[in-house]
């Protein structure tokens, strides 16, 4: 059930209307829990059991961590189970394939059969959410929740279930204890966030994919260098718009249901260093890795901070997918962040202003774009091929449709506009006559139909 499907909006509106008639908080949460499982099982009903197992194990581990004499053991059970399930579905075949390759290199015959399993949608997201609960209890930063249903709703809450933001238990569980009600301002904010997300996804991200990014990556050998470079820039904007669109819609839905989800992006391509980029990009994930892995490894206090940084970013890379390209993507970012940290001793990468800041932003943006090749290409071979084609295909002609060019231009301009201006426009939109507001909505709907590429899935669904 994609956020861009007709079915989803029927589901959402029906849910919002039903919730208006429910006065009891427990009944409201139960309805949301059922709706969330329905939402998740609409992809594949078999996933429901996995989601429930992840919920039940972490719920009881949380209690045992607090109330048993051996909290470490129960934390280990939670970690092994959660990461084991994630590893089995996401990384096991990658491990087997590489084992097979190593065996072949050593001249040993192997008879390894890969598992024919599909990756459950959103598993990386809800695994981390569930883990944040048990780790926070272990660290005495959170008390175990008394109700399995509340915890199940926290893990499965449908707006953020399949592509985040990764919500900490300490952020969301307290919201469940109150009978939250979406007031007029919350409803307005929710609807505006959903509309904003749909515009980003359908009118910009999908158009960039169709007209610029997909043609370049599908046939890079026959595309000109200029087109390939433009497609890399286009991809950087596509992935940002696609993912931030999902977050906007998720936050909008949560607001309509009376809850809050955290902000996940802060104009990441205005970062003036790679470390600043990660403070602005997928904030809920990078802060998760910072708090639970980097600090766990010792952070800047224990061990070698540079190694800790590189290891954390390798984990971030691998979190995105099982492949050497993702591993190298994380490694490169880790090395760059470590380099920046080291060079700060000498005054490099300090806060800049004016044209120096602009140059730093451009430098960071192009580095991020360049590394995105590994993120988008099927594997390292294709990533290398793409970069070689940029070098070799200088003489080929340059193509770009008007729709692709306009989408890229609008994406860049929207990124440069400060958030408060966008908020101001939204406020102004709400002051124009309602008939005009409604006409704009219909016009947007028609534009989405004309320019959209069907129900293209969100990029982060695969992670």
């Amino acid at each position: 059930m994609s956020f861009t499907s007709f079915h989803f909006y029927v589901f959402l509106i029906a849910l919002v209307i039903l919730l208006r008639f429910i006065q009891h908080n427990g009944q409201k949460k139960m309805l949301l829990l059922l709706a969330s499982y329905w939402f998740y099982m609409s992809w594949d009903w078999r996933f429901g059991a996995l989601l429930f197992a992840m919920t039940a194990v972490n719920f009881y581990c949380g209690r045992l961590i607090r109330y048993s004499a051996r909290p470490k053991i129960w934390l280990a059970v939670s970690l092994v189970f959660s990461l084991g399930v994630l590893g089995l579905f996401k990384y096991f075949n990658f491990f087997l394939t590489n084992l097979d390759a190593v065996a072949a290199m050593l001249g040993m015959s192997s008879h390894i059969n890969i598992l024919h399993i599909i990756l459950p949608v959103g598993i990386s997201f809800y695994t981390f959410q569930a883990l944040s609960y048990t780790i926070d209890i272990y660290r005495r930063q959170l008390d175990p929740v008394g109700s399995l249903a509340d915890f199940a709703l926290f893990v499965s809450f449908f707006p953020q279930l399949v592509a985040g933001p990764i919500v900490r238990a300490s952020y969301f569980l307290p919201q469940l204890t109150q009978h939250t009600y979406a007031d007029s301002a919350a409803q307005q904010e929710g609807v505006m966030l959903i509309i904003r997300g749909l515009i980003k996804k359908v009118l910009l991200a999908d158009v960039l994919a169709l007209h610029l990014v997909d043609p370049a990556f599908a046939d890079y050998a026959n595309q000109s260098s200029a087109f390939l470079v433009l497609a890399l820039i286009g991809y950087s904007f596509q992935v940002y718009l696609d993912f931030s669109a999902y977050t906007d819609i998720a936050r909008g839905c949560a607001r309509l249901l009376g809850y809050q989800l955290p902000v996940n992006f802060n104009r990441p391509y205005l970062a003036d260093s790679i470390s600043n980029f990660w403070q602005r990009w997928h904030i809920s994930m990078s802060s998760f890795f910072r708090d639970y892995l980097y600090h766990g490894l010792g952070g800047s206090k224990h061990g070698n901070v540079y190694i800790n940084l590189v290891l954390t970013f390798v984990a971030i890379g691998v979190w995105h997918g099982a492949g050497w390209n993702f591993l190298l993507y994380g490694f490169c970012h880790g090395v760059l962040v470590a380099f920046e940290r080291y060079m700060r001793r000498y005054g490099w990468f300090d806060k800049q202003t004016g044209w120096r800041w602009a140059l730093a932003v451009l430098r960071t943006f192009f580095l991020v774009c360049l590394l995105r090749v590994m993120f988008r290409a099927e594997d390292l071979h294709h990533a290398g091929g793409y970069l070689q084609a940029i070098w070799h295909n200088m003489a080929l002609s340059f193509h770009l449709t008007a729709a692709g060019a306009v989408a890229l231009l609008v994406a860049v301009i929207l990124h440069l506009i400060p958030q408060h201006y966008i908020a101001l426009w939204q406020q102004r939109y709400l002051t124009i006559p309602q008939l005009l507001q409604a006409s704009v909505v219909v016009l947007l709907l028609y534009s989405m139909l004309m320019l959209g590429a069907g129900e293209a899935p969100f990029i982060y669904f695969q992670f």
């Binding site: 079915h7 329905w38 979406a182 043609p215 729709a403 309602q434 507001q437 409604a438 004309m450």
Partner: protein, 350 residues
């Protein structure tokens, strides 16, 4: 809800505007083509309310109904075909069945008399022809065989003209994961009769078309095998019925390889709506491959002839209203070409 937020009022108003636009489009379809969702809504019975009736594996028009709009008037006969009433066969007439899909039916033909089968009957004055139009929109080659086998068995035709059309067959090329087993829960879909969606999508394919995109040619083999098998079934059934002549008409299109690429894209727009995974060049290749299959099958049998029509009915807007459907001039041209074939080959001399 109303007291909660102005935004809900705006959304409700937007929905009303959308429905108003939809109503206006349905009204336009009703006035122009005599058929829309309004027909079904205000009909006394189902036969009056729907132009098409679904059978097992194919469709027909509702029998003996008339739909009239300012552009198109459709009158069906007792068999559910866009043709005059079919009576007992007389020895003085040569009975011809024109089997096919929307191009044979006459998607843009103003009246029954303006379809190429009707024109063929009219202009073949030196040969007494009775041409039955058995073209029904939406029927692919398998459906055409079923219709021919189940509904047209007692017509004792002398000649069978097959203009199969390809849209309904080729449309499957771009369908994804059709065969994969799905464990997903059922999902609601937007109603298929929403004209505001359909018209917008059909008239904006060029906005979504990327001329330089790389798209691998889908594997045509299973589709071509199915096409060949159905053609053989039709021929063998016709020969069992002792049909004297079977003509496979070349499947035509508005866009041709010798036109400038820009023009080809414009002319192919409505076809690419159904097959967004293909480029214009690939679409042309698909046509060629299907037509080659017709040629091969025709060569396997005696009294089966493949009729080339692309010279008499060249591409472009003059002969085609959209990518594959004929304009009035196109209907005349194809009828004239077929009449000439029948006359020249003397295949149908009584």
């Amino acid at each position: 809800m109303a007291k909660d937020s102005q935004i809900w009022k705006t959304l409700l108003l937007a929905l009303i505007l959308f429905m108003l636009m939809e109503f206006l489009l349905q009204l336009r379809a009703q006035l122009k083509f005599g058929n829309s969702i309004l027909t079904a809504a205000f009909a006394d019975n189902s036969a009056q309310g729907s132009l098409f009736v679904q059978h097992n594996g194919y469709q027909l028009l509702a029998a003996d109904v008339e739909f009239e709009g300012s552009s198109i008037k459709v009158k069906s006969n007792q068999l559910g075909l866009r043709s005059a009433a079919v009576g007992p066969k007389t020895n003085s007439n040569i009975r011809v069945i024109a089997l096919g899909a929307s191009s044979t039916y006459g998607a843009y033909a103003a009246t029954n008399d303006d379809t190429f089968p009707a024109i063929l009957q009219r202009i073949s004055s030196d040969i007494p022809l009775e041409v039955i139009n058995a073209g029904i929109p939406g029927n692919d080659i398998s459906s055409q065989y079923l219709l021919y086998a189940e509904q047209l068995a007692a017509l004792s035709e002398d000649v069978l003209i097959l203009y199969s059309g390809l849209s309904n067959d080729v449309g499957r090329l771009c369908q994804r994961n059709g065969a994969a087993k799905s464990y997903a829960l059922p999902q609601l879909q937007a109603p298929k009769w929403l004209l505001s969606v359909d018209l917008l999508l059909k008239n904006s394919t060029d906005l979504r078309y990327v001329p330089y995109k790389y798209s691998p040619m889908p594997d045509l083999s299973p589709y071509l095998q199915q096409y060949a098998a159905s053609l053989r079934q039709i021929v063998e059934l016709a020969q069992q019925r002792q049909v004297k002549t079977i003509l496979f008409a070349e499947n035509l299109r508005a866009f041709r390889n010798d036109q400038p690429l820009q023009l080809q894209q414009q002319l192919a727009a409505s076809a690419l709506y159904y097959t967004p995974c293909l480029t214009v060049g690939q679409f042309s290749e698909v046509f060629e491959r299907y037509n080659q299959v017709q040629q091969q099958i025709a060569a396997e049998y005696t009294d089966v002839h493949y009729v080339r029509l692309s010279e008499q009915v060249p591409g472009g807007r003059e002969y085609f209203t959209d990518s594959v459907h004929f304009s009035a001039k196109g209907e005349l041209a194809i009828a004239a070409a077929l009449a000439q074939v029948l006359k020249d080959t003397r295949q149908v001399a009584p």
